[in-house]
Structures are given as C-alpha cells and as structure tokens.
C-alpha cells in the first residue's frame, strides 16, 4: 500500500465513527448515515493528495454536511428502539432512553437547525466556522441556534410532562 493510502486508511479509521454519528444525528437514519459518511470519505480520498497535509478531517466533515444538506427536506425517519447497537458500556436501558430522547428532540428541529446544532454542539465548532461551512452569516447561526435550543427546551418540557402523567 502506498504511503498516502496507508495514511488515508489510518485517517478514515479514526474519523469514521464521528462522521457516521454526525450523519445519524442529522438524519436519524443509520443506513443513510453510513452511506453519507462513506460518500464523504470517497470524496476525501479522491482529493487526498491535496488535503492530507491540510485539514483532512475538516474537509471530510464539510463534505459530509454539504452532502446531507442536499436531503435537508427529508424528515427524521428512524426510531432508536428498532436498532440498538451492541452495548459495551453503560446500561442498555439508559442508552436506549438517551437515544430516544435525542432523536425526539432533534426530530423537532428543521434540517438547518439540526445541522447547526450538530456542528456547534457535537463538533464544537465556533459560530464563525459553522457560518463558513454552511455559507450563512454568523447572525443566521446565532439566531438559528437560539431558536433550536428554544425548541429543545419546549420538547424537553413536553416530554417531562407526558412522563409525569403516565
């Protein structure tokens, strides 16, 4: 294997889980998430000689998010109870509950809000970088982020109320 290829494989192994998970957070669909991450890595590999010494992870992340943006109007489709991964840590019931809560609240967001939430709070990118990556203004990131968090609070409170009534 050429040196560049070996470096790519190392990079891809390290980055795959986060890319797939980010895609899952944006789509709610494991299969679509894996496809999207795979597509992002294909494009990253195709440009590897140009980007490997730069920010390869950033390139893969931008490619992934922009690829998913093409499907922005699609709804969240999957519910976590149908597909629980093998557990290596923590309590299964807790993780299922967390996953269900996560999908419920992310499902309440529109696709742009979801993308911004994932970039801001999963990838921990600063607002200015989120704005650059989504080609929107910093003001749009701030207002969308704020609106998204407002929705999250609303959903959380509704969920808590429903649980209390049971």
């Amino acid at each position: 294997m050429a040196r560049g290829d070996a470096e790519f494989v190392e990079f891809a192994r390290a980055a795959s889980a986060r890319l797939v998970h980010a895609a899952y957070l944006m789509t709610g669909d494991h299969h679509q998430a894996e496809d999207a991450a795979q597509t992002a890595l294909v494009r990253t590999y195709a440009s590897w000689s140009r980007i490997q010494d730069d920010d390869a992870y950033g390139y893969a992340r931008r490619t992934l998010v922009n690829h998913l943006i093409d499907g922005w109007r699609r709804p969240m489709r999957e519910y976590p109870s149908a597909d629980v991964p093998e557990q290596r840590r923590g309590d299964v019931a807790d993780e299922v509950a967390t996953r269900r809560w996560l999908i419920t609240i992310l499902g309440a967001l529109n696709p742009r809000e979801r993308a911004i939430v994932v970039l801001r709070y999963y990838f921990d990118l600063p607002e200015a970088q989120v704005a650059r990556e989504l080609a929107v203004s910093v003001g749009t990131v701030k207002s969308t982020s704020s609106r998204a968090l407002e929705k999250l609070r609303g959903v959380t409170h509704r969920t808590a109320d429903e649980e209390a009534r049971r």
Binding site: D5, F8, V9, A12, R13, S16, A17, R18, V20, H21, L25, E34, A37, Q38, L41, V42, R43, T44, Y45, A46, S47, W48, R50, Y59, A60, R61, R62, T63, V65, N66, H67, I69, D70, W72, R73, P85, E86, R88, G90, E95, T98, R99, W101, L102, I105, N110, R112, V117, V118, Y121, Y122, E133, L134, A135, V136, S137, L149, L152, R153, T156
Partner: protein, 254 residues
C-alpha cells in the same frame, strides 16, 4: 444539567466507537472519482446535444433523479466544468463531480460582456458571474453559457463551473438552467444562480414555503438577459428551490 449540557452529553454518549465502514470500497470509488475528475478537467466544456448523462456527470447542481423538481422546469441544460473542446469521455462519468480542483489547469474562458460582481466575498476573492462562449454541435442557437467564478484582487478569474443549454436557443424567453452548488465542502460555495430572458425586474424563488428574492443584473451585451443569484445568507448554496417566478416592473408575472 441544562438542556444544552444534556444534549451535548447525549450526542456523545450515543456515538458508536466500533463503527466500521468498507474502506476498500471507499478507496475503489475514490480512485474512480479521481479519474473522472482528471478526465473532466482535461476538457469537457461544450457538450453534445442529447448527452443527458453529461448533465449528471459534471453537473454541479443539475437536479438528479431524486431531487425536487423546480416548479417551472427549465429546458435541458448542461452543466460543465469550464474548459475547451468536447470530451469523448464525458459520457462515462456517472455521478456529480466536485469542481474546486477540476479546472485549475485550464485557461479561464474569456468573459463576454461585463462581469457581474455579486458582492459576495470568499476571502479576498469576489464571487462573480459572466457569460462565456460555448458551442454545441448541431445547435447553432446555443452560443453562450453562464459561468460562476471568483475574481482575485489582481483581476484573475477562477471559473468554478458553467451552465449552458444543450438544445434550442439560449435566448428563448423564460428561465434557463439554475445552477446549484453541489456542496462538496468547497471553500467557496457558489450561490444559486441562473439567467432569465425577458423584461424581468424581480426573480423570486420559493423554498420550504418561504419566498426569497434573487438579486438581478442585466447582461451588458444583451439587456433582455437577466442574470440572477440568491444571497447565500438567504438561500443556502445547494438548497433546491421548490419554485421560481419572474415579475416585470409592474409586478406582472412573466
């Protein structure tokens, strides 16, 4: 724990560290994509009539089979990386190809008429649109394509991609193709753009029930041709429009 903390925690907690992708397939596809980029970059600007596949191939933004169709369907249009000549290979590519690196070795097409400065900046570069000459075999009425490019402070142009008709007349009244950024993580995403032939004063796109006014500029070489683009702050590059209309100075639908 605040909602935000809980959200952060949940997003990390549910990550699956054992995720495995088929890296052999990734590299195989990546090699194919790299080859297609080279082929496309080696020359494919003027496209033969009926090369429907070509629209998909090099198309950075031509709607794919699963994409929403704009309310007013434009005529068949080719979207190609800028360069010269007809590529015998063009039809062999089967999926959209990112453009940022495709045309760098090609001489930039010479703009016809004045370059339109959108006011959008990519670092020190300015996002610009301009028409360039194209030729389509058997289609003598297709002579121009609209290019999206960037202009450096020294005036140098980098053409990202162009859209042009592949049949009929490039001056037919109405909308022609709408160019969408493909969204491949390029440092300079291209705002959605296109041109309309007719006395349009306003171009209005619809997306998710929201109306977005495009910015418009008449082409210096033919005042019937209205170049339009959507401010990326109002319409995210690559986001498909659900519909688009044009109105004249009196507000009449064209």
């Amino acid at each position: 724990m605040s909602e935000l903390d809980r959200l952060r925690h949940a997003m990390r907690e549910t990550e699956r560290p054992d995720t495995v992708l088929d890296l052999a397939a990734v590299m195989r596809e990546g090699r194919r994509l790299r080859t297609r980029r080279r082929v496309a970059g080696a020359g494919a600007a003027t496209l033969a009539t009926g090369l429907a596949a070509v629209v998909v191939v090099v198309a950075v933004g031509a709607p794919g089979p699963g994409d929403p169709v704009p309310a007013e369907q434009p005529p068949p249009v080719a979207v190609a990386p800028p360069s010269v000549g007809v590529s015998p290979w063009a039809g062999q590519s089967l999926e959209p190809t990112p453009l940022p690196t495709m045309a760098r070795d090609e001489p930039p097409p010479k703009p016809m008429g004045q370059i339109v400065d959108t006011g959008v900046r990519h670092g020190t570069d300015r996002r610009v649109y301009y028409f360039v000459p194209v030729s389509v075999p058997g289609e003598p009425k297709v002579t121009i394509g609209l290019a999206a490019g960037r202009q450096a402070p020294d005036g140098a142009l980098t053409t990202d991609f162009l859209v042009n008709d592949v049949m009929g007349s490039d001056r037919r009244a109405g909308f022609h193709q709408i160019g969408y950024d493909e969204g491949t993580g390029a440092a300079a995403p291209v705002p959605t753009f296109g041109y309309f032939v007719g006395p349009a004063n306003r171009i209005i796109g619809t997306v998710d029930g929201r109306q977005v006014d495009a910015r418009v500029a008449r082409w210096s070489a033919d005042k019937q041709v209205v170049i339009f683009w959507f401010d990326p702050a109002r319409l995210t590059p690559g986001e498909r429009l659900d519909g688009i209309i044009a109105r004249d100075g009196d507000g009449r639908l064209l």
